[in-house]
Amino acid sequence: MTIEYRNIRNKLFKGIVIILTVICTLPLLLVLYRITKEGISAINWDFFVNLPKPVGEKGGGIANALVGSGLIILMASVFAIPLGISIGIYLSEFKKTKLAYFTLLSVDVLQGIPSIVIGIIIYLWVVKTMGHFSAVSGSIALSMMMLPAIIKSTEETLKLIPDTLKEASLSLGVPYYRTILKVILPAGITGILSGVILSVARVAGETAPLLFTAFGNPFMNTNITKPMSSLPSIIFNYAISPYEDWHKLAWGASFMLIAIILVLNIITKIAQRKWRVQF
């Protein structure tokens, strides 16, 4: 086998990898291009501050969906973040116990449950029990979807923190709980935080579980026990409607959603760089 032949094979391999990468990235860019092109024209002041208007009337907006999505995700975070971080701490600290083994298994299974199934479960547990659709049931569904990502990122971050750090703290007579809260958690804050933000980005676009739970609402609502609108549900409802105006709003909402997810991802990257902890 001559050297030239090997060089040619090298170049060929490199070329194929590049071509395949481009083929994979292209659809993504096309989707982004289309959404931006259609969405950006829908966005103006009215879009942010007005409620949806009846068909035919000009100047409708999605203020209710923006507020709704914000509230639902905020509530979901309030449920999921403390719980997820606690479970993550447990898993990394007591990894050899039976409970940890089963918890980890459950987390892996939970991660694989389709979002629509979670929606149905919460419908049965919460919506049926309460007797009506509500924003809080939507938050519970989303928090269940956030949990695996938060637990995993917490566990994996904490696992990488050297034991010597814990020993240093304990050897100063610092009680165990303070060692965890003041030494171990701060040392892992970047990893935990990025897990949290990415999990928010992931559920921000979840539609299926919200259809059964928060349901949607054409009016402004901040009462968490009542049905509430959200970006994904407004996209779903307006996109399947027959009206041109509403399609436009759906494009605008899609663009907003993607912009929010993009911003969250950028924040994660910046946080990772800025608060990087060096051992």
Binding site: K96, P162, T164, L165, E167, A168, S169, L170, S171, L172, G173, V174, P175, R178, T179, K182, V183, P186, A187, I189, V277, Q278, F279
Partner: protein, 252 residues
């Protein structure tokens, strides 16, 4: 304040079924520097980790017998009180990565939630850092991260962190094995200075180091104390053949 500060009585330690310390009996005098020496795996580190009960952090690790500090059994003392009384410095420098040099020096207070006034804090930081001869090197960068320092400086910072709580005993677990010769000699000078105020138990692989800095040496072999005597005596006139072989470099 002469007298015995630490006494081990028929002390045994285990990892699961594996006995790593066998019937240790040892008296340590106040303000002595005691070197703990011996080949790898002989239980040196386990022994000092038993003194402040870090040993029991390892799953399956157990211990029997008594270690008395100031005539009190460490296994009956409150862990928090015990560990404040006995400072520890580890093999690899491990300053808290999220804290500044200043915060690291008073980490014992910060993490334990002991409130200090600003001036008291400054005072503790300054005296601790001066005692470890680090003050002049870092006084202009106190608010930089502790991990920003060089390895030798980090280790001195860790010693400052340990002595800021005014312990009675300082346990050093091969504190210079990860450091360069110059940092090592600085730490050795420091140990010589610290001996005035503290009792120091230092695990070391380095025989010259044991010879230079310690008053007494305990030679551990397969979990037992083969010989414990004044350092000079051990080096010039070892009683035990194994000690002699180790010191002359025949094994270990």
């Amino acid at each position: 304040m002469a007298g015995t500060i630490l006494k081990a009585k028929n002390f045994n330690a285990f990892f699961g079924q594996n006995q790593v310390l066998k019937n240790i009996n040892l008296d340590i005098m106040r303000n002595d520097v005691v070197a703990v020496m011996g080949p790898s795996g002989c239980g040196k580190t386990t022994f000092i980790r038993c003194i402040n009960r870090m040993h029991e952090l390892t799953p399956d690790a157990t211990a029997e017998g008594e270690i008395l500090v100031d005539d009190k059994n460490v296994y009956k003392m409150n862990l928090i009180v015990l560990r404040r009384k006995i400072g520890m410095v580890f093999q690899r420098p491990n300053p808290f990565p999220t804290m500044s040099i200043y915060q690291n020096a008073i980490a014992g207070y910060l993490l334990n939630g002991i409130k200090l006034t600003k001036s008291k804090k400054d005072e503790v930081v300054e005296t601790s850092l001066k005692r470890v001869a680090l003050w002049d090197e870092v006084k202009d960068s106190l608010h930089k991260k502790g991990t920003f320092l060089s390895g030798g400086q980090q280790q001195r910072l860790c010693i400052a962190r340990a002595i800021s709580l005014n312990p009675e005993i300082l346990l050093l677990d091969e504190p210079t094995s990860a450091l360069d010769p110059i940092s090592t000699s600085k730490i050795e000078e420091l140990i010589y200075e610290l001996k005035k105020n503290y009792t120091i138990i230092i695990v070391t692989h380095n025989m010259q180091q044991a010879g230079r800095i310690s008053d007494k040496t305990a030679f551990f072999y397969l979990g037992e104390v083969l010989e414990y005597n004044v350092t000079k005596e051990i080096f010039t006139n070892p009683k035990h053949e194994k000690t002699q072989n180790y010191i002359t470099g025949h094994f270990g």
